[in-house]
């Protein structure tokens, strides 16, 4: 048995909200990764858009790693071929579900340069984790797919806990004890 490549999954919950990392899936290709991501992370109606990115295409550093080691840095070079990199940060230490969230883009000629530019451009707050990946590595759900991929979850109201009136029913039973 040999495992397929791992893809990180980013999910957008609401219009105007950034994509957030939800977890990862394994798949033989990006198209299948997107399908798997839908089955694993979107069984309930809270998704407008999904991105999948090969885990190998992501350059990641925690704040601790950045503080202790700068040997990964490169001399910044604006002349060679530049491309767009997406930048993600973990911005909160609160006990919530948020991990790395999409904050913007930089132009760079390598992952290390992209992270250096991101550190300058998005230096506000105290980010705990940084991820950068080339825009071309992202495979996205198409607007035309939203209906077929995400709408079926809307009708499955029985997946939601508030479909069941057990708390009120139990209260009534115990009042009559």
């Amino acid at each position: 048995m040999s495992q397929w490549p791992r893809y990180e999954v980013f999910q957008q919950d609401k219009e105007g909200r950034p994509h957030q990392n939800a977890g990862s899936v394994h798949a033989p290709d990006a198209e299948m990764a997107l399908q798997n991501a839908r089955d694993v992370f979107v069984r309930r109606p809270n998704c407008l858009s999904l991105w999948v990115v090969p885990a190998a295409a992501i350059f990641a550093k925690t704040a601790q790693e950045l503080a202790e080691d700068d040997t990964w840095q490169e001399e910044l070079d604006s002349n060679t071929d530049q491309e767009t990199y997406y930048v993600f940060q973990k911005q909160s230490q609160r006990r919530a579900m948020t991990y790395v969230t999409h904050v913007g883009e930089v132009e760079a000629s390598s992952p290390a340069q992209a992270l250096q530019r991101a550190l300058q451009k998005y230096k506000g707050g105290t980010p705990y984790v940084w991820w950068v990946c080339p825009a071309r590595a992202i495979f996205r759900s198409e607007t035309a797919d939203v209906e077929s991929m995400f709408a079926p979850a809307h009708d499955k109201t029985f997946r939601m806990p508030n479909e069941y009136r057990v708390v009120a029913q139990m209260y009534e039973i115990r009042q009559g004890e």
Partner: protein, 311 residues
């Protein structure tokens, strides 16, 4: 920094309530304990599909069939969230699946018991998923970021699992004499194995101290077990059901429902492979893996064809 200073900083971060993330320094033992715990948890979700999956074709109506299908799908998804969390520590999916299929890996003992009647489906939902939620709400506060986030996601979905089960138990408990007898029989069989789900008493638990020290677990097994009994016992009794524990009673001074002696010999017998369903569960899991081989091969062939075509 020396190893000792790194350890001090690590423990200080946990004390401040920070999450440890992949890439951060962590003691090798923290990594080892988390891989052990998270992979076992993932396997439990996957094996946990089997007792309930067996009843999908026999659900009494379409609504119940849709609910059960959705619940079993969720358990499969929960296994995926957890395998992801373990992979973030350096475990590979391949090693973990291999450990499960070869029988080296452990999974929750509760799934080595049979689901004998349809009433078991409601009882599993309310009792087994209810117990799992108590444990998982605690684990959502775990110090390791990916595990904590997987737990938050899982707890949000388990609310449905527990409530659909409770709805069914309540309906049967207030139903015909035959339904009442079915649900009582199911509660009788599942009560004690459910209490064992919280693990050994704290004094006998080999990993307890280190897991608490590093914030992997933030409450004790006995504490969680007591919370569960306090929640469930009065509700089951209010429905006119009995609980198969002659020593169970409400202690006015502590407010706790005090339960009798758990049969840990049975726990060890089942976990070491001699429970009623151990062999069937592993056989079903291996069969499912083998039956899916052609799908994996087809996907692989398609992906390779796409790559060849794009050259």
């Amino acid at each position: 920094m020396s190893e000792e200073e790194k350890l001090q900083e690590f423990e200080a971060r946990i004390a401040r309530g920070e999450k440890i993330e992949p890439g951060d320094w962590m003691p090798a033992e923290y990594r080892r304990q988390l891989i052990r715990m998270i992979s076992q948890h993932a396997h439990s979700e996957v094996v946990g599909m089997l007792p309930e999956g067996a009843w999908i074709t026999r659900a009494p109506n379409l609504r119940r069939k849709l609910i059960l299908l959705a619940k079993v799908q969720d358990e499969g998804g929960h296994g995926q969230y957890l395998y992801h969390a373990a992979e973030s520590l350096g475990a590979t999916r391949e090693e973990m699946i291999d450990a499960l299929l070869s029988g080296r890996a452990k999974y929750s003992n509760i799934f080595n018991y049979p689901s004998l009647t349809w009433a078991d489906i409601g009882t599993i939902g309310w009792l087994v998923d209810g117990a799992a939620i108590v444990n998982q709400i605690m684990l959502a506060q775990s110090s390791y970021g990916p595990y904590s986030r997987a737990m938050v996601r899982i707890c949000a979905e388990e609310g449905f699992h527990k409530k659909q089960g409770q709805e069914m138990v309540m309906r049967y408990a207030k139903g015909t004499p035959k339904q009442q007898a079915m649900i009582q029989d199911a509660v009788n069989r599942w009560w004690w194995p459910t209490l064992m789900m919280f693990g050994l008493p704290d004094k006998d638990s080999p990993h307890h101290e280190i897991l608490r020290r590093w914030g992997v677990k933030v409450r004790s097994n006995d504490d969680l077990r007591q919370e569960f009994v306090n929640e469930l016992a009065p509700q089951l009794l209010a429905l006119g059901l009995t609980i198969p524990d002659p020593d169970l009673h409400h202690d006015e001074t502590t407010g706790n429902w005090v339960y009798g002696q758990i049969d840990w010999d049975e726990f060890w017998r089942v976990i070491s492979g001699n429970g009623p369903m151990n062999k069937e569960r592993m056989a079903a899991r291996r069969q499912a893996h083998e039956d899916g081989a052609w799908v994996r091969e087809a996907l692989e062939a398609y992906a390779q064809k796409q790559v060849a075509g794009s050259r």
